[in-house]
């Protein structure tokens, strides 16, 4: 299942919505760079999310090599 790539506007909206929740005093001039990183992360996540995983696949936060 794939989502369309995040637009610049949508990435900016994510930042605007989340910053008050996170309580980070973000300077206005940082917003575009932060939004660009949100967009890059969404693109990376999309690659991962499109892989169907069986529900039995356990997460690996406790990872044993």
């Amino acid at each position: 299942m794939t989502s369309p790539p995040l637009t610049d506007e949508a990435a900016g909206a994510v930042v605007d919505a989340m910053i008050p929740l996170l309580g980070i005093p973000m300077a206005p001039e940082w917003r575009d760079a932060v939004a660009a990183n949100v967009k890059a992360t969404a693109a990376a996540a999309a690659l991962v999310l499109e892989v169907p995983l069986d529900d039995a696949v356990e997460p690996a936060p406790v990872f044993r090599a």
Binding site: V14, V15, M18, I19, L22, G23, I24, P25, M26, A27, W30, A33, V34, A35, A36, N37, V38, A40, T41, A43, A44, A45, L47, V48, L49, V51, L53, V57, E58, P59, A60, P61, F63, R64, A65
Partner: protein, 463 residues
């Protein structure tokens, strides 16, 4: 400091060299060359001289010195050093109280007779592949100081590549030992996830953080690695593994090992010389086989998501109170990381398990896999964009294209320095199954013995 750790330890043990002289030589070299290289951010000269004198006194009294007797070493500034704030390349951490105890691996190396001479420059909070640092200035490549060392263990690569110390410690979350080792022309070992204690080091991404050594020879790498093994109750993430020494095994050669070159993802998307370096190594080993590591691009993407999310979680309080004190390149990624949906992170961790199962299955048919360490040579300092496969991309994140999928599942890797032409050094990753550092080091040593992997000292800062 042109002697290897192995040579220094042997000479000190035999009484041909004192630790005091070995340390004085190292301190002289650092004083002479560090202004041009910017590898060291702290030099602990007084401590080092005192430890050297004490070691010499013990040897004079008849005590048998350890396997690293008198060997000077240095550590990335995220390792605790008693008396120094653990700055981790940041401005913010300089306000921390000085560490009250050395980090676990510093204690292990010193217990074996090695002597710490300083802390090393690094990308802020290890969120970096360049070795640049907004607060301390960039660490500079000893083979051409106009070029990056790579990062985030930039000072570790620079100090070893320049011959200022024979051994340095770094950390590797997504490639931060292997990248500077490749760019600075040194060997670097990222052990299996959970092998070495992380206690007393400043974290970045708990899911992926590894610590390990850089050196100019496989023997030195093995010597340092063996001295650092062992279960440490202070590290809750460390695996329950016995000490499995490798120093006696590295000379066994590559004969009998099933070795293949990584194809697909690891054979495209980089500059031709990077693949030429892998070919040089493969030819020296007489290899024709290739193996496809499946879903590597997705593995890198999942590592990217988890890295951003965990790092943001680690730094959230500081982002709320002191965001202006971060390196802007780090801050913007951390703030973005704080917005990542938890469901994505959970999914990425589930993908990690899936990817691990697929890759472990490959090791039923191969013992060791070769892949390029980086997709390019060391870029120029400050170079923000580069061209890969005809596409212009951001330099910073793409340096780690080939290292990230491997550390994502904690496989042991030795990055070996290979120069397929007269240009700056390149690295080849020698990748083994979990807990088989011995096999990766055997192949690295075979390449060294064949003359295709070597780490001549970089002296370009003298020019």
């Amino acid at each position: 400091m042109t002697l290897s750790a192995t040579d220094i330890a042997a000479a000190v043990a035999a009484g041909r060299l004192t630790a005091t002289t070995a340390i004085a030589d190292a301190l002289d070299g650092i004083a002479a060359r560090n202004p041009a290289l910017n590898a060291f951010t702290d030099v602990v000269a007084g401590r080092a001289r005192a430890k050297a004198a004490a070691l010499d006194a013990r040897i004079a009294a008849g005590e048998t010195p350890g396997p690293l007797a008198g060997v000077p070493f240095a550590v990335k500034s995220l390792f605790d050093v008693e008396g120094l704030p653990t700055r981790a390349g940041s401005r913010i951490n300089r306000d921390r109280a000085p560490a009250t105890r050395d980090g676990a691996l510093v204690r292990k190396l010193e217990a074996a007779g090695a002597i710490l001479v300083g802390g090393l420059n690094m990308g802020e909070y290890a969120y970096d592949f360049t070795g640049e640092n907004a607060h301390d200035g960039p660490s500079r490549n000893p083979h051409d100081p106009a070029h990056m060392t790579g990062g985030s263990s930039g000072g570790s690569g620079g100090a070893v590549g320049a011959g200022l110390v024979p051994i340095a410690l770094g950390s590797d979350t997504n490639g931060s030992i292997r990248v500077p080792a490749a760019f600075c022309g040194t060997f670097g070992l990222k052990p299996t996830f959970g092998r070495l204690s992380r206690a007393g080091s400043y974290p970045f991404v708990a899911s992926f953080d590894h610590l390990g050594p850089l050196s100019r020879s496989v023997a030195d790498l093995a010597l340092a690695y063996d001295a650092m093994q062992g279960r440490d109750p202070d590290d809750a993430w460390q695996a329950e593994r016995p000490i499995e020494p490798v120093a006696g095994a590295v000379e066994a050669g590559a004969d009998g090992l099933r070795i293949a070159v990584a194809g697909g993802y690891f054979a495209r998307g980089g500059h031709p010389e990077c693949f030429a370096a892998v070919r040089v190594a493969a030819d020296a080993l007489g290899l024709a086989a290739t193996v496809e590591i499946p879903e590597a691009a997705r593995a890198r993407a999942a590592a990217y998501v988890i890295t951003a999310a965990e790092a943001a979680g680690l730094h959230l309080d500081r982002l709320r109170t002191r965001p202006g004190d971060y390196d802007p390149a780090v801050r913007d990624r951390l703030i973005a990381g704080a917005t990542i949906p938890t469901a994505w992170v959970h999914r990425a961790q589930r993908f990690r398990r899936h990817f691990q199962e697929r890759v472990l299955a490959l090791f039923e048919d191969v013992d060791v896999i070769l892949a390029p360490t980086t997709p390019c040579r060391a870029p120029r300092i400050g170079q923000a964009r580069m061209v890969l496969d005809g596409v212009e991309v951001a330099t910073r994140p793409n340096i780690g294209l080939f290292t990230q999928p491997i550390s994502f599942i904690g496989l042991p890797v030795v990055s070996v320095p290979v120069r397929p032409d007269a240009g700056l050094p390149l690295g080849v990753q020698v990748i083994a199954a979990p807990w088989r550092e011995d096999l990766a080091l055997r192949v690295a040593r075979a390449l060294e013995r064949a003359g295709v992997a070597s780490a001549p000292i970089g002296t370009a800062d003298h020019a």
